[in-house]
């Protein structure tokens, strides 16, 4: 039984192919995919309307930092991991979030996401 089984995971990723692969992997792990959202607005909308247990958040969406989503997730006490092609930066520290550098394997995403859910949510800054 996967650690993510039946968890509602929000996928925020602007790259269609990566999002699709992530969704497949989550489904294989028996998780429930929420999204995927490709914009900040779409992600915020989903968070308002649907229950979410955890999120996989691309740090940069079409050239925009996804900070507002991270702030929203934190205020809702929803654990999340950042995925990024930039490497660790000041955001990782600010949000105290785990980072999965791109390109990543499924094992890494699953491991970090499961850990993040165990960590709970860092208090809002």
């Amino acid at each position: 039984m996967s650690r993510l089984a039946n968890c509602r995971i929000l996928v925020v990723e602007d790259e269609f192919l990566i999002a699709a692969a992530l969704c497949d992997m989550l489904e294989d792990a028996a998780a429930v995919v929420v999204g995927p959202a490709t914009t900040i607005a779409a992600a915020m909308q989903i968070l308002q309307e649907q229950p979410v247990d955890a999120a996989i958040l691309d740090m940069n969406l079409n050239g925009q930092w996804s900070d507002p989503i991270a702030v929203d997730l934190q205020s809702r006490r929803i654990p999340f991991v950042f995925t990024t092609g930039y490497g660790a930066n000041e955001r990782t520290e600010r949000f105290g979030a785990r980072v999965v550098p791109k390109p990543y394997g499924w094992e890494e995403v699953e491991e970090q996401l499961a850990q993040a859910m165990l960590d709970g949510v860092a208090p809002s800054p």
Binding site: L17, D28, N60, T84, G85, P101, K102, P103
Partner: protein
């Protein structure tokens, strides 16, 4: 000075003293060396009772030259210039008094010339400066003289006063020349600093600005006479202020050079990035006078550098995103066969490629150290059962070489994990490198203690990558030696740089 005193027999001691006083007074007030000569000839002709006299000085070539005279013909002066009983610098010689020149063993032509000038008797009185001969004064008489002791010592007294006065006049001239030169040099340096295209400043020991050149005054909009009220520290950006003031304060306290960089508000209130290089300056006695420094406005360079940084970050992001997309495609394509070894091999290779890119972007695609590369690549794969030792000196690899070496190490590690020394607890791998002559780097991967090794039947991608990929990428060679006790891979690369 009256003629009757000059020729009268009744020239008394008090008259002589009076004349000496007048002479002393005259040379004291003299404004040029010519005035000194005139006063000297006055006192010489008056007190030593001659109509004719002259003053001669050694010129720069050491030739005795007439500088002032009375009652001498041009011919005499021309012919007898240079004629002297002393050499320049002779030490305090006594004067020479000749009662009758014809009675001496002087050269005949000289005697003839002297006689022709109507001179019988002569006095040679040396002029000295700090005890050394610089010239002489001459007295000439138409009649034979007895040169009594009193007139001899009087001549010496006048000579001393005259020598001293000439020395003083020379010193004064030299001082004025030096002063003029100094003024000129100061003006030149002032102009140089004023017109320099960078900001130049000087501070007192407390760090207060004492001097700003024009570019600096223009930057802050400070008038030349407004420096007292000027406080440069108030113009520093609030975010940069603490660190700049702390570092500058430390440099002042320790008397050390310092380089600081930060934003300052210029006269218009715009933030400009200035890079300051400052050094302590000291007085001759070693006491600290403050700092002297140069500020260069690097705002434009900074923004170009920042843009470049952003572009580089964006490029890295895109490269990695592309690799992530390739990976996603692969994962989806092979979804059904996810557990096939080929899929994980592919994903592993893709990951190493990304890792190498990561390392290279971390060093801005310049060059990367062999140690870091080895550490990062080897740490990327799940740890096996054996152990790996890594040993080698600091060595820098160009980006292309770094990518090739990263992929090669990954292949070796993967192979060792599956079939080699890292597949059993007792296995060891030694990775070592060393620079070899002609700018080449030798990398040695040696496995021991693993299962017995047999050469593979089929040349796989890994082997191909090692044996052929490396050759072209590294402009070098790679040999795989499947020894029974363990695989040995020797890679030789031509490298540009080492540390």
């Amino acid at each position: 000075m009256s003629d009757n005193r000059q020729h009268g027999k009744s020239f008394s001691t008090s008259d002589t003293l009076q004349a000496l006083y007048e002479f002393t007074d005259a040379v004291y007030h003299a404004r040029s060396v010519e005035e000194i000569y005139t006063s000297a000839l006055d006192v010489i002709t008056l007190t030593l009772r001659c109509d004719r006299a002259s003053i001669l000085l050694f010129d720069e070539a050491g030739v005795m030259q007439f500088v002032a005279w009375r009652g001498l013909s041009d011919r005499y002066r021309t012919l007898l210039a240079g004629h002297t009983p002393w050499k320049p610098g002779d030490l305090d010689p006594p004067p020479i008094f000749v009662a009758d020149i014809q009675a001496t063993d002087e050269l005949d032509w000289i005697k003839e010339e002297i006689s022709r000038e109507g001179i019988v008797s002569l006095g040679f009185v040396p002029l000295t400066l700090e005890g050394r001969v610089i010239g002489k004064f001459m007295t000439y008489y138409a009649q034979e003289q007895d040169f009594d002791p009193q007139s001899r010592s009087l001549a010496v007294t006048i000579a001393r006063q005259l020598g001293f006065s000439i020395g003083r006049a020379r010193a004064e001239t030299a001082r004025e020349a030096a002063l003029a030169q100094l003024r000129q040099s100061e003006a030149r340096f002032r102009q140089m600093t004023e017109e320099a295209p960078v900001m130049i400043w000087m501070s007192d020991p407390s760090g207060h600005c004492e001097q700003l050149n024009r570019v600096a005054r223009d930057f802050w909009g400070v008038a030349e006479d407004g420096l007292n009220e000027f406080d440069w520290s108030a113009s520093i950006h609030p975010d940069d202020s603490a660190s700049i003031l702390a570092r500058m304060g430390q440099a002042i306290a320790l008397g050390e050079p310092v380089t600081v960089r930060g934003r300052y508000a210029n006269w218009a209130g715009d933030w400009r990035v200035l890079e300051t290089e400052a050094r302590p300056r000291y007085a001759c006695d070693g006491s600290f006078l403050g700092m002297i420094g140069v500020n260069v406005d690097i705002t434009e360079q900074e923004s170009i550098a920042r843009q470049r940084e952003l572009m580089l970050a964006e490029l890295n992001h895109r490269v990695k995103n592309t690799l992530a997309v390739v990976q996603a495609i692969a994962q989806q394509t092979f979804r059904a066969d996810r557990d096939l070894p080929a899929v994980s091999t592919f994903l592993g290779r893709l990951k190493v490629l990304a890792k190498a890119h990561d390392i290279l972007s971390g060093v801005r695609w310049e060059s990367t150290s062999m140690q870091e590369l080895a550490r990062e690549v080897l740490a990327g794969a799940p740890s096996g059962r054996g152990s790996i030792s890594v040993d080698g000196p600091a060595f820098l690899l160009a980006p292309k070489q770094a990518l090739a070496v990263a992929l090669a190490l990954h292949e070796l590690q993967t192979n060792a994990l599956k079939y080699g020394a890292l597949s059993v607890d007792t296995g060891t791998v030694s990775l070592a490198w060393k620079p070899v002559p002609a700018g080449r780097l030798e990398i040695l991967w040696q496995e021991r203690g693993g299962p017995a090794v047999a050469p593979p039947l089929r040349r796989g991608f890994g082997t191909l990558m090692l044996e052929q990929g490396l050759v072209s990428e590294l402009n070098g060679s790679a040999t795989l030696d499947f020894r029974p006790e363990g695989l040995v891979c020797r890679i030789e690369a031509t490298c540009e740089g080492t540390i």
